[in-house]
């Protein structure tokens, strides 16, 4: 059954796409596409073939789309109108440093739908008992971990290590990736010192600009929970190319 196959893929966080015909000819006809193939029937082999290809393309970028095809899958046709829903695996949130802030950040990251990994070089601190909401807690040297980790534009990197010895090599590796969010905790003074070290290490001005530091939106956060909300809000704002701040003070559409 298609629904069971969809449910299994979603639970396994495996890529899966579901195409539904919306037109009056075969409303509700379905095709499911996953790593092991396709199942279902949209009305003709040509249409199934064309939609499977389109679904795989959408899976690569993790986007849903409305598409029209001819009744046999012709790309310029309009008889078949489809909604193709692409369920990409969860995006990664990498949190470096296993401190109290990391516990709160991991919890909010999960809440936002990220696959959360917490990394710390110190085995005493990097334990699942301390960070219960993380999908993974890894004992590793931060820069070495990130150098071999999966990173894509949807990835968020939050540096809470707060220690130059870890921060500098880690930020250098982070800036070599295409991660969509790179945040680093620390005061303005801490970050100014970090910037000097990174600059001396050959990091470009445009790369330095990518670092969100001091990290988070300006909501007056004090506790780990408040700080995590501030950072999570900045991650969401960066994702939708917004600056943060109060909606009542703005003029853009509320929903981007």
């Amino acid at each position: 059954m298609i629904f069971e196959r969809l449910a299994a893929a979603l639970r396994a966080d495996a890529p899966v796409a579901l195409a539904t015909r919306l037109d009056e000819v075969r409303p509700g006809a379905k095709l499911i596409v996953d790593v092991s193939g396709a199942e279902g029937d949209l009305g003709s082999p040509g249409l199934n073939f064309a939609v499977e290809a389109e679904a795989r393309a959408l899976l690569a970028v993790g986007e849903n789309a409305l598409r029209t095809f001819g009744c046999d899958g012709e790309p310029i046709g309009t008889e078949a109108r489809l909604f193709i829903q692409a369920f990409a695996p969860k995006a990664d949130l990498y949190i470096f440093g296993a401190i109290d802030f990391s516990r709160a950040m991991a919890r909010l990251g999960k809440y936002l739908g990220y696959r959360v990994t917490v990394i710390d070089a110190r085995p005493v601190f990097a334990t699942e008992a301390r960070i219960p909401d993380a999908d993974r807690v890894v004992v590793a040297w931060p820069d070495e971990f990130l150098a071999s980790a999966r990173v894509e534009p949807r990835t968020a990197i939050v540096v809470l290590t707060h220690d130059t010895k870890f921060d500098i090599p880690l930020l250098k590796v982070a800036l070599d990736t295409n991660a969509g969010y790179i945040g680093a905790m620390g005061s303005r003074r801490t970050h100014a010192a970090r910037v000097e070290l990174l600059r001396a290490g050959g990091v470009s001005e445009s790369d330095l600009e990518r670092i969100c530091a001091p990290v988070g939106l300006d909501i007056g956060a004090r506790t780990p929970e408040e700080t995590a909300i501030s950072i999570a809000a900045e991650i969401v704002a960066m994702r939708s190319d917004r600056r943060g701040g109060r909606l009542r003070d703005g003029s853009l559409a509320v929903h981007p």
């Binding site: 059954m1 539904t20 919306l22 409303p27 509700g28 279902g40 409305l66 909604f83 829903q85 929903h255």
Partner: protein
């Protein structure tokens, strides 16, 4: 979708028929993106949502009808809609929702 899986599977295991409503298109400002889903059981229970609560009642009626008739339909809600006063989105957007019986 993942947030309604457990509930939908439970309904189906109980032998209930289920309707699924999916946001397939959004124009201008709307609270939920395409892909947002709401499921309705034969007994009238609900899981998930398709808006910020503005059109759920109308979608619920369509879903209940789809459970009985098996007829899928594409419905549109928004300020341009004739039923704007009762069923419009307060945010001023338009959403297109596909409602179907979960026969698959």
């Amino acid at each position: 979708m993942i947030e309604i899986l457990d509930t939908v599977e439970r309904w189906r295991a109980e032998g209930q028929r289920v309707a699924l409503a999916t946001v397939v298109r959004v124009e201008q400002s709307a609270p939920r993106d395409p892909g947002a889903v709401m499921a309705v059981s034969e007994r009238g229970e609900v899981a998930g949502s398709v808006s910020g609560g503005c059109v759920e009642a109308a979608v619920y009626e369509e879903a209940s009808d789809a459970i009985g008739t098996g007829r899928p339909r594409l419905v549109t809600y928004g300020i341009s809609d004739a039923h704007a006063i009762e069923q419009g989105l307060t945010c001023g957007g338009t959403i297109h929702v596909f409602v179907e019986r979960l026969d698959w």
